[in-house]
């Protein structure tokens, strides 16, 4: 067994909720953590913790966004674009967050950023990150997965090089999102809140242990790697959808979809079947916010990642 990889400590951590104003679990987790801080003082931690409500104007009106989806605004191009009277609110706010938590890709950026989201899809707790070789993040995932038993816990890799990434979590030196569902937008479910709160508590617990010198053993883990997506059948001129996700696919996120399996049921009663050439894993099945993005579901392949043992680098 090799020596553990030594990794730098994580001095500054940010937890963000309300990046989409109608995804309520993260918002209330952040508010609850702020309340505890105010009433009970800072828990003794080994990190400096920043709590952020990312999109307060969208939160106020309980909508995903007011002008543009904030979780697509964190590309280098948008973050450095000049601000004018017509700059959308979310772009200006993204630039503010870049000052507060970044700048992205700089030495001043927070060490770790966790962004909290909900989905209408039946995805349980999905840990979303951009890299298959960020050992810190992958150990955090493993820790959550081994301890959280109230929901399925899965690792989703959206393979994007840091330079091209557009989501809020790409602002930290290390970043990930916790996506918990199913929950309708604009609703707070206690069971979903409890799962998300537990996920946050667990990753903060991991960091404390990491900083205290615990060696985390190596492991292998399955990751779902996004490959492509499928849109609804639509009318060519109006772009109105002409079918719903098939009842045999609805709620079956991460259940293998084989060529020929039903995917849509048209309003006139026909079944549309999966015409891919290989079996893949569907996820984000029937996510409300993706109708306007032309996505009925995403498809992933499963890959095994090998992660070495790690410990904190003594400074």
């Amino acid at each position: 067994m090799g020596e553990p990889v030594t990794l730098p400590g994580l001095a500054r951590v940010a937890v963000c909720g309300g990046t989409h104003g109608n995804e309520l679990s993260g918002l209330y987790v952040v508010r609850e953590m702020e309340r505890r801080r105010r009433e009970e003082g800072d828990k003794v931690r080994t990190v400096s913790l920043t709590l952020v409500v990312s999109n307060p104007r969208a939160v106020e009106v309980c909508r995903r966004y007011v002008e543009t989806d904030m979780n697509r605004c964190f590309t280098n191009a948008v973050l450095s674009s000049p601000v004018s009277d017509t700059t959308p609110y979310e772009v200006r706010r993204a630039q503010e967050l870049n000052t507060l938590l970044g700048p992205k890709c700089s030495a001043q950026a927070v060490d770790l950023l966790c962004d909290l989201h909900n989905t209408t899809s039946n995805m349980g707790l999905c840990f979303i990150c951009n890299s298959s070789t960020d050992w810190t993040i992958l150990h955090i995932y493993k820790y959550i997965q081994s301890k959280l038993t109230d929901a399925p816990v899965r690792l989703l890799l959206i393979d994007i090089p840091l330079a091209d990434s557009y989501s809020l979590d790409s602002m930290g030196k290390h970043g990930f999102s916790l996506e918990v569902g199913p929950q309708p937008h604009g609703v707070i479910r206690a069971d979903i809140f409890n799962i998300m709160k537990q996920g946050v508590d667990l990753f903060l617990e991991w960091i404390d242990q990491f900083h205290s010198g615990v060696v985390f053993e190596s492991f292998e883990v399955d990751a779902y790697v996004r490959k492509r997506s499928m849109d609804y059948p639509r009318e060519p001129e109006t772009r109105q959808i002409t079918a719903a996700v098939h009842p045999q696919l609805q709620d079956r996120d991460f259940t293998l979809l084989n060529p020929g399996n039903p995917v849509f049921l048209t309003f006139s009663g026909e079944t549309v079947r999966f015409d891919g050439e290989e079996s893949l894993y569907p996820f984000f099945i029937n996510e409300c916010a993706y109708y306007e993005k032309g996505i009925a579901f995403h498809l992933a392949e499963k890959k095994t990642l090998r992660v070495p043992s790690v410990k904190v680098k003594k400074s």
Binding site: E32, P184, G186, V187, I188, V245, P247, C288
Partner: protein, 313 residues
């Protein structure tokens, strides 16, 4: 034996199906749009069934409403007040709809209007009545329930003086609300869509049968009658301080007993139900009701007796 009591109603010739009263409740939007293109499925002999999108601007933006909730806008003040370009969009719309399908309370009003809704609550298929003495409607819901068995359908009665509201369907002589969930706003679920479609099919069959002169014998209808609305616990700023408890979440129509957990605070404490007797909660955790100060409504079960009905000669 006393003489039989039969309520007679005129033939129901003008029927409407409203979708998109809330623009993000997708089953009704998609069904009505489908039927506007090809309405063969909803036509029956001896009557005209008109599919109609009540709130097109809200549908376009996939939002519940633009200025104000259309399904609360059909008040006497709104309907009788003078026209003004500055009126909220939905008040203008209410006046237009009242002209097209009413006027409410007049002999020219549509006979039956079905208003299609979705809810984030786990209510299954629910038929909503506004009157316990509309025997035509009571017989219709009885017929629907029998027809869809073993699938089930709850009947919610809201004639509570403070909690009832002025719905879009209320312009008709016989208004029926059709509420199907759980479905997130902005999402179309196939099973929910097909349930709603099936219920409407049976409802229209009933009207057609009624119009042919069939007499429907007296029957009893099991209803849930709205008694009270329960809000979330809130702080001084009006922010909620607790969520529907996991044991109550999704348990629409199941008894809630005194002492049962009702809410869970964000720091994990349970808040129990402190009423004096068991009640039947519904509309548990409906997204649109946070702003209306409602976590759920409390109902009591009642058996309503419907007289025999037939069409008047």
């Amino acid at each position: 034996m006393t003489s039989r009591n039969v309520s007679c109603f005129p033939e129901a010739r003008k029927v409407a199906i409203f979708g998109g009263t809330h623009g993000n409740e997708m089953s009704g939007v998609m069904l009505v749009n489908m039927w506007k293109k090809n309405g063969a499925e909803i036509q029956r002999n001896g009557m005209v069934t008109k599919p109609f999108i009540t709130n097109p601007r809200a549908v376009e933006k996939c939002t519940r409403y633009i200025d104000t909730d259309l399904n609360r806008a059909f008040t006497p003040e709104n309907l009788s007040g003078p026209w003004d370009e500055g009126l909220p969009y939905e008040v203008q719309r209410a006046k237009e709809i009242n002209q097209m399908f009413g006027p409410k309370g007049s002999p020219d009003a549509y006979d039956v209007i079905f208003d299609l809704h979705n809810t984030t609550s786990n209510m299954g298929s629910t038929l909503i009545l506004e009157s316990s003495t509309d025997h035509f409607n009571l017989q219709m819901v009885h017929y629907i329930k029998k027809s869809i068995a073993p699938a089930s359908c709850a009947v919610l009665l809201n004639e509570h003086p403070h909690l009832k509201y002025s719905t879009s369907r209320s312009v008709a002589k016989h208004p029926i609300g059709l509420e199907v969930g759980p479905q997130p706003q902005g999402v179309l679920r196939s099973n929910i869509f097909e349930s709603m479609r099936d219920i409407l099919k049976h409802a229209l069959d009933f009207i057609e049968l009624f119009n042919t002169g069939v007499e429907f014998p007296p029957c009893a209808v099991d209803v849930f009658k709205v008694i009270e609305r329960v809000d979330y616990p809130r702080d001084a700023n009006g922010n909620i301080t607790a969520m529907v408890h996991p044991h109550l979440q999704d348990c629409d129509w199941e008894p809630l007993n005194p002492g049962d957990p009702m809410f869970q605070t964000f720091d994990g404490r349970a808040v129990p139900y402190q009423g004096s007797s068991p009640v039947y909660p519904t509309f548990i955790n409906e997204a649109a009701y946070y702003e209306k100060q409602q976590a759920f409504v409390i109902t009591r079960r009642e058996m309503l007796a419907a007289t025999a009905i037939r069409k008047s000669i």
